[in-house]
């Protein structure tokens, strides 16, 4: 059993390194995107093996649902932007220095087992081949340092006993949610603020242009959306609910709901009206503002900033998580659509 798991881990690690390397070294952007989607899949499995199902859930939703769509549409936009310059023949794409297309899984796996392969690709992907050996030396040194660090680190239990000792005051039954929304609520507030900043950053860059595309004809896609959308909504809320006692929570739920929104905007069953900008702003900021307001209320009425009275902890955490889910989902869809809606400027 343990030997089988070890073999699984080794294969997984080799796959991760190999995919990461080919993804970075690929000069064909579409291939790089597909490799990145594959990387996300393998990464989710790696998080499972690291016994972090919460992160695996988030990676599954973001890797499978959002990054793929985001990168593919970005690729299309890049082409659309570069289209006018199509006439002047630009320089041919830089040669792929690390390796030509091996096209051979054995070679792929062999290369990937080389401990520095990922670092090699990272440090010299599009540069001329003459930097290769110094890069190999540097990454080999880094790998040695990393291994030395790992070997000398003591494997203590970390903060797990401390969290377990205080679970009864947290208001929830899942350690990670307790840490995220009670013991270290400050971190989560800053993360929400970061999501908000990302959304605002995209909006500040300009208005979103209509994608130069139209939905695929035929009845299959609308039918699939009809099936998937309700299931995605229930699953998203289920993950939010599960967060209080099992893997799940606001980020995972927000990512699933955001992916559902992206699917909606991609399939576009009928022309969706732009939402009211005022409502959209409220929705995007709801998570961070609600969190901050309740935290401030804790400062004046409760023990301290961003702490909850013990008997109110559960409902307060639920309220904050609901707001955060809404904000994360809306921000992800807004990032996908890119730019503020035309009605904002009107």
């Amino acid at each position: 059993m343990n030997a089988a798991l070890l073999a699984f881990d080794v294969v997984l690690l080799a796959g991760l390194l190999g995919v990461a390397w080919r993804c970075l070294a690929s000069t064909d952007l579409f291939r790089a995107v597909v490799l990145f989607i594959t990387f996300g899949l393998l990464l989710a499995i790696a998080w499972v093996r690291l016994e972090a199902p919460d992160i695996a859930l988030a990676e599954a939703a973001i890797g499978a649902g959002i990054t793929g769509a985001l990168l593919l549409v970005t690729l299309e936009r890049l082409k659309h932007i570069m289209n006018p310059h199509r006439g002047d023949a630009g320089p041919s794409p830089p040669p792929d220095p690390v390796a030509s297309d091996t096209g051979n899984a054995d070679a792929e796996a062999r290369d990937a087992r080389d401990p520095g392969a990922g670092n090699v690709a990272l440090s010299c992907a599009p540069t001329p081949a003459r930097g290769r050996w110094s890069a190999v030396a540097v990454s080999g040194g880094l790998a040695l340092l990393l291994m030395a660090t790992l070997a000398t680190q003591d494997h203590g239990p970390g903060l797990q006993p401390a969290v377990a000792a205080h679970m009864d005051v947290s208001g929830v039954d899942h350690g990670i949610t307790a840490v995220l929304l009670n013991f270290r609520a400050w971190d989560t507030l800053l993360e929400l603020a970061m999501v908000l900043l990302a959304g605002l950053g995209a909006w500040s860059l300009g208005r979103h242009d209509a994608l130069p595309a139209r939905p695929a004809p035929g009845p299959v896609l609308p039918g699939a959306v009809r099936l998937l959308l309700p299931v995605a909504i229930v699953t998203g809320v289920y993950l939010l609910w599960a967060g209080s006692h099992a893997p799940g929570g606001a980020f995972q739920a927000g990512a699933v709901l955001g992916a559902a929104g992206i699917l909606m905007s991609l399939a576009r069953p009928h022309s969706l009206p732009d939402p009211d900008p005022r409502l959209l702003r409220i929705g995007v900021t709801a998570g961070a503002l609600l969190f901050l307001a309740l935290g401030l209320w804790g400062l004046f009425a409760g023990p301290a900033l961003l702490t909850w009275p013990r008997n109110l902890a559960y409902p307060l955490i639920l309220i904050i998580e609901t707001g955060a889910t809404l904000s994360i989902a809306l921000t992800l869809v807004a990032l996908f659509v890119g730019g503020r809606s035309p009605r904002e400027d009107a």
Partner: protein, 182 residues
Amino acid sequence: MNDTRQSSSNPPVRRARRPGWLRALLAMLAAAALWAVLAGGAALAHPFAWLAIALTGGAVLALPAGRALRLNPTALPGLLGFFLRTSVLGGIDVAWRAVHPRLPLAPAFEPYYVRLPHGPPLTLFMSMLSLLPGTLAVRLEGRRMTLHVLDGRSDNAATLMELERRIARLYGLDSDPPGSAR
């Protein structure tokens, strides 16, 4: 190539659209069932269950309305059995062709004229036929569907007509007398 050119004998039946409240109600019932599967029946009392159910109802209203079709539940087991049987056959068929040293493929494009009306029946048909042995829906233009088949020499249309007949029975669109074998 099979002769699948048939006149579309029964034109699509235009039916009234289902009122919004009924669609939302049905979707909410389905959402409640799904919630019970995911979270357990006891969790239906949690406010988040109501939130999920309400959101689903709202989302279904945002989707365009389909035509109201009466389901005929007695046809469901037959369709499911047929589907499972043929999809197992389809998997075995593809697996056999993939491992065969000489790759026995004769890929071809074939036209097929669909008789099912647009809406859920056609969607179901097009999704299911991609899972049947040797057929893949490529494109639909009006009634004319382009199929890709793995083996142009075999009688693909017969399976499709059988599937079409069963789906038509599921939605109560059957014009054939019951029991008539095609």
